[in-house]
Symmetry: C2
Subunit: 235 residues, 2 copies
Amino acid sequence: MADTPARRTAEPHDLPDNGPVTRELILSRALEIIDHDGIDGFSMRRLGKVLGRDPMTLYRHAPSKAAVLDGVAEIVLDQLTVGSADGDWVTQLREVARDFRRLALDHPHVVPLLVTRPLATPLGLRPLGTLRPLEDILRLLTRAGFGSSDALQVYRALFGFLHGHVLDELQERVERPEESDDLLRLGLHRLPIGDFPLLRGLAPVLASYDGAAELERGLDILFAGLTATLAPPCP
Amino acid sequence: MADTPARRTAEPHDLPDNGPVTRELILSRALEIIDHDGIDGFSMRRLGKVLGRDPMTLYRHAPSKAAVLDGVAEIVLDQLTVGSADGDWVTQLREVARDFRRLALDHPHVVPLLVTRPLATPLGLRPLGTLRPLEDILRLLTRAGFGSSDALQVYRALFGFLHGHVLDELQERVERPEESDDLLRLGLHRLPIGDFPLLRGLAPVLASYDGAAELERGLDILFAGLTATLAPPCP
DNA sequence: ACCGCATGTCAACGGTGTAGACCTACGGTT
DNA sequence: AACCGTAGGTCTACACCGTTGACATGCGGT
């Protein structure tokens, strides 16, 4: 009796065939796979397996694999909240920046999608969720008194900086965290001593990188520069 | 006799089987493919075809496809010249920044590799060509009198900004360049009017984006902020 | 004369994205 | 009650992919 006929293999989550498949379900499982194994670990067939469905089922809900990846970027970006905090525009944008950084650290494998997918698609055809933060920030800034063109400048400066910072921070990965010697921890001992003397010498500095502090420093510079350059918004 | 048996099919470049295959030849052909069709258009089999060789030949010169991609990023980055210009450190770095932007515009499809590949590899095991600009800039800055830790800060700030700027600039792609109406050119007419009023209103501003000017503006801000924050280098 | 090594080739394996035909169940209309 | 259109799910099949392992060839050194 007690032998349910061995239909019990699936991935960690295994609800082999509950309710119908929805777009949200697909995307959230896809996100889990990517978080766990990176983009290379993701395939339609594997996603099908996780959902306990034939891979072709996915194509009833998404037109292609690329669309699924776009969707994943979208749901991650949806978690970015834009105008919740109060205060002037600078402190509000600072909050957005910290939020974005947190998202990136929570889903490092998704960052390539975030910064790279839009390159393939002209503005107007991007997933709407991807454009939401832009619109929200434009609203925030126009409310603060900026002209629309200046608002766009600020947005571009902020997200340009943000994308760059996040990529930089994620690059500083440690190779062997248990190692106590900084050179070895970072794998820098492999570099030819003659060719990279300065870089090798930087091991201790590199090892003590503080992303959050770096972000704040960058924001300080950015906002100082922006307020100095732009016509100040009428209050 | 005179019938070379129809061995004359290949891609545009077609030197079907001249001299031996070298790493440089492989990488430069790979770059051509990527420039032409993007990263998705690149495969080992296709690269083999372009070289007039069996795809497996490639594996005598590169351990994997990922290594070829790293190599492509490397040869593009090799074209970045650091320290040729003279002047103080600010003007030298400005020149590097302009150079980097030019590289990105010349090889837009390579940019994802440039910003994304390092995420997979800890500093010490990256292709040396990838680390060269870092070391060169560190040298430039220490010569200018910076302490090594400050030099690293400057490098990080500069390339963080640069990566972000280039990604942003490449995102502003035009959908239908021949169209005269800005809304249509950018594909913005597709956006729900109610949800994205501000973004739609920005069509003319978006359409007249000037990447070079934007870069200079950003550099102004960046260097102003850096010189204000850092202890000035002893001259 | 021999060996070893660098280079190139071939066939094969297991994986991939997705087109097309098919099957089933259900809600609305007649 | 009979019908049908549609949405969701499944199956098969195709063309392609990255890469392993065995095999062929020619050259330089011993």
